[in-house]
């Protein structure tokens, strides 16, 4: 990788990705002009409901999409190189693992059930750090320690089905970070974890960001987790980017009607169920998505123009972008 990136500069720039899936029922227009930038040493939250395309965006970056995916356009710049241009071999050799790594939602299925936790972390060490047997064993124990796993010797010998959800998720992180990656994509890592374990897990992520300038793209549907650890947030709806802003702007000054509706339907923002706001209608099926802005069928501010013309991602503040024709009127 050619470009050296220092803190605060963009490490990952996703520009205008258009992606479809060809399925038996028809073509699913999964991503429609998706753009997103992650800066070095930043935790960037990507939030949206089921089927909004947040996981598809992350899989596009690493080229882990299913075979029925068709990328129609767009680029993914990582430290100056366009990952979409890279061949499978190049991606595998130079990007996956030693530059970008990924952890998934349920830890119990993300680890191979027939190898012990230690063996799976050692696999990354041997690939990227050292293939000498004793040294790699020692490095594995360091990695397990780095993610604050109690009693690493014990965990080393255990099979995944003998570990708890929280411990498995940490082994996942250790396994990925052992590849010295600079960008970690976390796809709903705490959804399957208990509140107390989730809190500890988020602390580990924060420390990795502070101490080792690790950039993280954090994908979730949980607004509370977003407010907990993210610096910047991108909201997606129906395969389109609705809004991107600093975490405070998203919560205190949401400019997109969908973000606004979402925030006010989250328990905790409103203390009593009677005050909950709801967004009418249901998430659109992306086989024949609504024209123009895909939120218009459910939007109270929608007018004719919203049906015809897809609103561009407009910069309305230093770090604040929104895709809505009537963002001024949202309150």
């Amino acid at each position: 990788m050619v470009e050296k990136v220092n803190k605060g500069e963009p490490i990952l720039k996703i520009n205008d990705i258009i992606l479809d899936f060809s399925t038996e029922e028809g073509t699913v227009k999964a991503l429609d002009d998706v753009s997103l930038t992650v800066k070095k040493g930043e935790i960037h939250g990507l939030i949206g409901e089921t089927g909004c395309g947040k996981s598809v965006t992350s899989l596009t970056t690493l080229g882990l999409l299913d075979d029925n995916a068709i990328i129609r356009g767009g680029e993914v710049f990582y430290r100056g190189e366009d990952l979409l241009e890279m061949s499978e071999k190049e991606l595998r050799k130079n990007v996956r693992g030693n530059e970008i790594s990924m952890i998934f939602q349920n830890p119990s299925t993300s680890l191979n059930p027939v190898y012990t936790a230690g063996e799976q972390v050692k696999e990354s060490i041997v690939l990227y750090q050292s293939d000498d047997d004793d040294e790699s064993q020692r490095l594995v124990l360091d990695e397990l320690d780095r993610v604050k796993l109690p009693d690493p010797e014990e965990v080393y010998k255990k099979y995944p089905h003998e570990l708890s959800g929280g411990m498995m998720q940490r082994v996942m992180i250790a396994m990925m970070l052992a590849c010295n990656s600079n960008l970690l994509i976390a796809d709903e890592p705490t959804t399957a974890l208990d509140v107390s374990i989730q809190a500890q897990f988020l602390k580990v992520l924060e420390e990795l960001k502070e101490k080792e300038e690790l950039s993280i793209l954090y994908i979730t549907h949980d607004m509370a987790v977003i407010s907990e650890i993210c610096d910047k947030v991108t909201v997606m709806y129906g395969g389109q980017i609705a809004e991107t802003a600093e975490v405070h702007d998203i919560f205190n000054n949401p400019r997109h009607p969908y973000t606004n509706g979402l925030i006010h339907s989250v328990p905790g923002v409103k203390k009593d169920v009677k005050e909950f706001e709801t967004i009418p209608g249901t998430v659109p099926r992306l086989i024949n998505p609504p024209s123009g802005c895909r939120f218009h069928p459910r939007c109270e501010y929608a007018q004719e123009i919203c049906k015809e013309e897809r609103p561009p991602l407009e910069r309305i503040g230093k770090e604040h972008l929104v895709a809505c024709h009537f963002w001024e009127e949202v309150e």
Binding site: S196, A199, E228, G261, K270
Partner: protein, 314 residues
């Protein structure tokens, strides 16, 4: 205020390969008529088993269950079936809670038939459409199969199925955790509306603490099969007293960038198989007052309006 449901020292132990699992360990609680009792706790705390045991879907190992003052602990077969009309449950995963071979009509028809709640086909259809409308669904949905409905719609059919028995008490076991946020708030508002319309008391079980705060009148906090704190919901959130409740609420992320989680609860959720000696929370408790916590299991005792199971408060 009379109680719709009461339990006395309810116990439910299972035999697993690794030993006895004390899922529900000596729980005494009550649900006041017309209220929503929230029950929160982490995985393995026994909240789901408690819900199912109260409904006698699982036989309790020990202790008593009262429904509307009547002891139903030993009811079974025909006698129990009468109570099936009075109390029911809504499950977490709507996808597996509906029989794929039955239409929505059949799902509502079964309860009405079993408890012959209606005398004519006309009356049955009117009742069904009325309940479906309360749930924001229409008559057109009656002839649909589960695989033709969205997650939110399926859950509304499950709630409709429970409500058409016009129960007095409904256990809601994580009814919205399998759904998206916007769908979840719709379901919660429908449940709230249904509570007034059908005059039902709820036991709302969830791991989502912010959500339970918004919907419950009273709150019970469970840890490893035990009830550690019970009381008015807002009071507990304002001023939690049991060490576990305090630590738990502190590690819950709030949807507000300025409110951050400081010291998360340390350690692991221990497994309910052969729980530790004395107070179960002792190994992770920062306010341990010494020997007594390791040795004696605290009783659930009154402390002002609240009930707490902790030696600090005797």
């Amino acid at each position: 205020m009379s109680n719709i449901v009461e339990t006395k020292n309810l116990k439910n132990f299972f035999q697993s390969k690794k030993g006895t699992v004390k899922a529900v360990n000596d729980v005494t609680l009550n649900v006041v008529k017309g209220e929503t009792l929230g029950v929160v706790g982490e995985s393995g705390c026994g909240k789901t088993t408690l819900g199912r045991t109260i409904l006698k879907l699982i036989e309790p190992t020990d202790g008593k269950i009262f429904f509307d003052g009547e002891d139903i602990t030993d009811h079974s077969g025909k006698k129990m079936r009468e109570f099936r009309k009075k109390m029911n449950i809504v499950f977490q995963d709507p996808v597996s809670a509906l029989n794929p071979q039955m239409t929505v009509y059949d799902h509502l028809d079964r309860p009405l038939e079993i408890h012959n709640m209606v005398s004519s086909e006309d009356e049955k259809l009117t009742k069904m459409v009325d309940i479906l409308n309360t749930m924001g669904l229409k008559a057109e949905h009656l002839i649909r199969y589960p695989h033709e409905l969205s997650g939110g719609q399926k859950q509304r059919v499950c709630i409709a199925r429970a409500l058409c028995l016009e129960p007095d008490f409904l256990v809601l076991d994580e009814p919205t955790s399998a759904l998206d946020v916007s769908v979840q708030s719709k379901i919660l508002k429908l449940l709230d509306r249904a509570k007034e319309k059908f005059d039902v008391s709820y036991m709302f079980i969830s791991h989502n603490i912010n959500l339970v705060r918004a919907i419950s009148d009273r709150l019970g906090v469970m840890y490893l099969g035990r009830l550690v704190e019970v009381g008015d919901s807002d009071e507990i959130f304002e001023n939690p007293q049991h060490p576990y409740t305090k630590a738990l609420f502190k590690s819950v992320p709030q949807p507000d960038p300025d409110e951050k989680v400081e010291a998360p609860l340390s350690g692991q959720v221990p497994s309910p198989v052969e729980p530790p000696e004395g107070c179960n929370f002792a190994p992770r408790c920062k306010q341990k007052i010494g020997e007594i916590c390791e040795k004696h299991d605290p009783e659930l005792k009154e402390s002002g309006e609240r009930k707490i199971a902790c030696h600090l408060y005797y």
